[in-house]
């Protein structure tokens, strides 16, 4: 046992393993202890001196001896030792007091210190200390009045210059004061002090002071040294016999150590004489604790036996809390169906914020946002996280494409919560939703509201501009364009060529969002929304995976953060998520971070994503640069080139540089099948260059397929030719 004591001290101070100790290690440690004994111990040096004089042993000697006992091949036995003088004053004091427990402890202690020492046959009959003053010191010591012992010693030394206190008393006093100080420091969370005291007082680290070991282990754990904490707890389980203390050790360790580390401790479980594993009584709690840790850490592989144990508890005991643990555990591992089952069980057993939130997340994941909204509504205010999940549910609900019919009361309460929570993202969704229902005035209101809460929300500004344009509010559009000048290409471009508006939108958004802003005619739901005049609705098609994940995580990419700190993979995911939210400039930043990836696949995806993002933001030149940042598959190269050239063609056309536009369209023709919208553009370019024959040929061919734009173009050509000579 003693060797283990030394071992743990060594672990603490030198970090060498239990097995790696040598005699030299002990001696070094003891040297350190006595030389650097900072802790104000003149007494300590006195102790060493006086012990040496008497040929006795300081604790340094005692550790050396223990080490020798462990390794008898060393010099130990051959040395001629002077007969030690055994200090029996403590023995006499405890005997005189009839304190048999302390008496026995003292006998054991002296025996381990002095193997040759023979204890008195009848310890209770040993003569009393004749030194009354010393007797008083022992009494004060045994009553824990250590400061008064110090005073008594100093008083006596002032009177009797030659008098030295027994080394045993000093050693015990040092240890007792250190112990009290260690406990005080631990209670005040001064963990460095705790560890420093323990390191300089190794004799405290024994099974008889198991609470000190707990304090030290906790100090290590609290100062982010879980390995050292584990070693301290391991020491108890390896060396100490007291059953309740062993059990408490595991409980304390479970409160501060991670799952994997704790398994090292559980491996030391013993079987009781009755044949029961000694930690059986806390096994259920341990299983809960492990599953709960799995709730926090998706990557943690909890032994299935613990998961099953909690499942059995949940099924037999029926406590909602156990079902909840399992729900979160499965949710973190994307086992949505199992998670939903456990959350539902918890929800039905005892509805709670956590159960409802978990259930709502699983419902959102399987595309049942309406039920998610209904489940979470009563708990929306229970926590910021619950509210975020609630808004995720409402956003998903409103974003379903095509829009679903919603009860007016549900719309009203979502609107109310959005207003109360000042959730800009949901307000923006309401804007798109209202646009989808062809209510541009309501949409404008919501977009403006979103902008008030989040002034840099470009999509809301864009939505507002679109809605004002639809309402014929030219001044309003110009105002937004002025405010966003230099910050959003698509806002700047809006309404420049009214005829081309649809086309521009389509070209800028080459993904599934191409038709995003085409107002669907949905008279059946118009009534419901019309009543939600001050409220929100969302409409934004999602491409699936990424958006769902974003919502599931509760926060997704709605929060504005600096992506620079993200790992490439995470940055990539955030980029796509932002694209889903139609925040292309932020997406481009996220993709930029992902471009730093080592993996070529991630770089490729990032370059592709960034190109799309810049295209959507109307920054064609940047898109072209991004497209070259990584090699791409043929299909993607064509897609990006098509989009880039189309954008450039449109930009040239808008700038009345028609030859340039045709040049871009020619290049485009070499890589891509001809899109009808771009052929219309080519027709107008020719027309504006007064190549009327070319223009007519193109418009006629297209008009034959029923293209309405082409028909208008044909009419325009004819009109131009008609008027032209007159003008000339």
């Amino acid at each position: 046992m003693k060797s283990s004591i030394v071992a743990i001290a060594a672990v603490m101070t030198t970090a060498i393993g239990v097995a790696g100790l040598t005699d030299g290690g002990f001696l070094r440690q003891d040297d350190k202890k006595f030389n650097s004994l900072s802790a104000a111990n003149q007494e300590a040096s006195v102790a060493v001196g006086s012990v040496a004089d008497k040929g006795g042993r300081s604790s340094a000697a005692h550790f050396t001896e223990v080490a020798q006992a462990e390794k008898p091949s060393e010099e130990g036995a051959s040395q001629a030792k002077p007969e030690p003088v055994v200090d029996e004053s403590a023995l006499r004091y405890f005997a005189a007091k009839g304190d048999t427990a302390r008496l026995q402890a003292e006998i054991s202690r002296l025996r381990s210190l002095y193997p040759d020492w023979v204890p008195p046959a009848d310890p209770l009959a040993v003569p009393r200390n004749t030194d009354v003053a010393l007797e008083t010191m022992w009494r004060l010591y045994s009553e824990g009045r250590y400061a008064e012992v110090r005073k008594a010693i100093a008083e006596r030394q002032a009177k009797e210059a030659a008098w030295q206190p027994p080394s045993d008393l000093l050693e015990r006093l040092n240890v007792a004061e250190a112990r009290a100080r260690l406990v005080n420091a631990s209670e005040l969370k001064q963990y460095e002090t705790v560890i420093s005291i323990a390191a300089s007082t190794p004799s405290l680290l024994t099974c008889s002071e198991v609470d000190v070991l707990w304090h030290v282990a906790n100090a290590f754990a609290q100062t982010k040294r879980p390995e050292r904490a584990r070693d301290a707890y391991l020491y108890v389980l390896k060396s100490c016999e007291n059953a309740p203390e062993r059990l408490a050790t595991v409980q304390k360790a479970a409160a501060v150590l991670p799952y994997a580390t704790l398994q090292d401790l559980l491996a030391l479980e013993r079987t009781t004489p009755e044949g029961v594993p000694e930690f059986e009584s806390i096994r259920d709690d341990l299983a809960r604790r492990f599953v709960a840790e799995g709730d926090e850490d998706k990557a943690l592989a909890v032994d299935p036996r613990y998961v099953q144990r909690v499942e059995t508890l949940a099924e037999t005991g029926g406590a909602a809390s156990d079902a909840l643990l399992l729900g979160w555990y499965q949710l973190r591992r994307d086992n949505m169906s199992a998670a939903e089952q456990w959350f539902r069980r918890a929800h039905d057993k005892e509805d709670s914020a956590s159960a409802s939130q978990g259930l709502a997340l699983t419902l959102i994941a399987r595309n049942a946002p309406a039920e998610a909204e209904a489940v979470l509504y009563p708990w929306r205010a229970s926590s910021p996280d619950a509210l975020a999940t609630y808004f995720a549910a409402t956003a998903n609900l409103l974003a379903i494409d095509p829009p679903v019919a919603l009860d007016a009361a549900v719309l009203a309460r979502i609107a109310q919560e959005t207003t109360k929570g000042r959730d800009a993202a949901t307000a923006q969704q309401f804007g798109w939703y209202a646009r989808a229902l062809n209510q541009p005035a309501t949409a404008a209101l919501w977009f403006a509201t979103a902008l008030r809460w989040k002034p840099d929300d470009e999509p809301s500004a864009y939505g507002l501009a679109l809605s004002r344009d639809q309402l014929g509010d030219k001044d309003g559009v110009v105002e937004i364009q002025r405010l966003w000048s230099g910050r959003s290409e698509r806002i700047a471009r809006l309404g420049e060529v009214k005829d081309k508006l649809e086309e521009v939108n389509r070209t800028q958004v080459p993904t599934a969002e191409a038709q995003a802003y085409t107002p669907p005619q949905s008279s059946t739901r118009a009534t419901a929304v019309a009543e939600v005049v001050e409220q929100p609705v969302t409409r934004r098609p999602r491409t699936g995976g990424t958006a769902q994940k974003a919502v599931r995580s509760g926060a997704g990419c709605r929060t504005t953060i600096n992506p620079a700190g993200l790992a490439p993979q995470a940055a990539l995911a955030r980029g796509w998520c932002l694209m889903d939210l139609n925040r292309p400039l932020e997406a481009a930043e996220a993709f930029e971070v992902a471009l730093q990836a080592a993996a070529s696949q991630i770089r490729e995806d990032a370059a592709y994503g960034q190109s799309l993002a810049y295209l959507r933001a109307g920054l064609t030149n940047k898109a072209a640069v991004s497209a070259t940042k990584s090699t791409q598959t043929r299909g993607r190269v064509d897609e990006l080139q098509t989009a880039i050239l189309a954008d450039r063609a449109i930009a040239a056309f808008d700038a009345k540089r028609y030859r340039e536009a045709i040049l871009f369209l020619d290049q485009l023709g070499q890589i891509s099948t001809r899109r009808q919208d771009l052929m219309v553009l080519r027709g107008y370019s020719y027309m504006n260059l007064k190549y009327y024959a070319e223009a007519r040929r193109i418009f006629e061919a297209l008009a034959a397929t029923g293209n309405r734009d082409a028909m208008q173009g044909l009419a325009a050509v004819e009109a131009s030719q008609e008027i032209w000579p007159n003008k000339n």
Binding site: A40, A147, R150, R181, E192
Partner: protein
Amino acid sequence: MRWRTALFAGLLALMIPVAAGGAEEGGSVSARDWEQYKARFLDAGGRIIDDGNGNVSHSEGQGYGLLLAVLAENPADFALIWSFTRRELLLRDDGLAAWKWSPTETPHVVDINNATDGDILIAYALVLAGERWQREDYLQAAARIAKAVLDRAVLDHGGQTLLMPGVSGFGTADRPDGPVVNPSYWIFEAFPALDRVAPSPRWKELSDTGLWLLGAAQMGSRKLPADWVSLRTTPKPAQGFPAEFGYNALRVPLYLVRADMGDRDLMARLRKGIAGSDDALILSDAAGAVQTSLMDPGYRFVNHILACVLDRVPIPDSVKVFSPTLYYPSTLHLLGLSYVKEKRPECL
């Protein structure tokens, strides 16, 4: 120059510890006075009790207790108070003392923050005790605290070396008017002693800054320093504290005198600002208006010690004999008496 003199005196004291003890047998605090003091303010477990403040204890009180035990030449009481102080207060990870201890709370330490004057008093007393009684452990403990003060409670600001009242809460980033200092935390006599165990040019710099501060921080018509002074710009009373020359600052003249610091003009200005017509010590506000007239002999002694040092005015009988009243004024009383007995016996 004064610094060197003080340092030299300190060295002499180190070499001939007994000779520094004063005229009569025993310490500069008489055994009788010390017995009376500790009967009232020192409990059996080594705790100095602030009976004017809910019977709590603090690092400052423990430091005063240790210092008085040294001055009373009582190593046993010193050991007693030190044991309590180390076990109950000297717990912070950074090696400084927690400042406040309550007998009725659990844990007893109710505020883990430090108070730098308490740390300095404890370390100073440990240096004196270690030197006087050849206790290496006391000197080592003193060195550790002194180094922690330098590391944690000293701030460079505007080219000056400031003594921060606590490790946290008073710095430039902590308060809009930070740094904020307390002139009465400059225990001038301690700095040369701390320099002996933790040598550093900082101690001298601190001493210089303290003197500068007393010259610069003059409030109202009485031209007295405030208890708490903001040094954000020019020295002015700190926000959130009463703008007054109060219970903190009233120690300043005593500390100056005990350290043999401060020129005649400064002493005379302080004397004029604090002396009441009826022998009272006057606490005053920022405008110089009287807030309180303190009649406790311990407070009044501050007036008399200035009169003694400046004009050799004898200490009147009414304050010459120590009789404990409350912890704080009684402590100041003994520190004052100790100085006069040792350095100005002609005033007794």
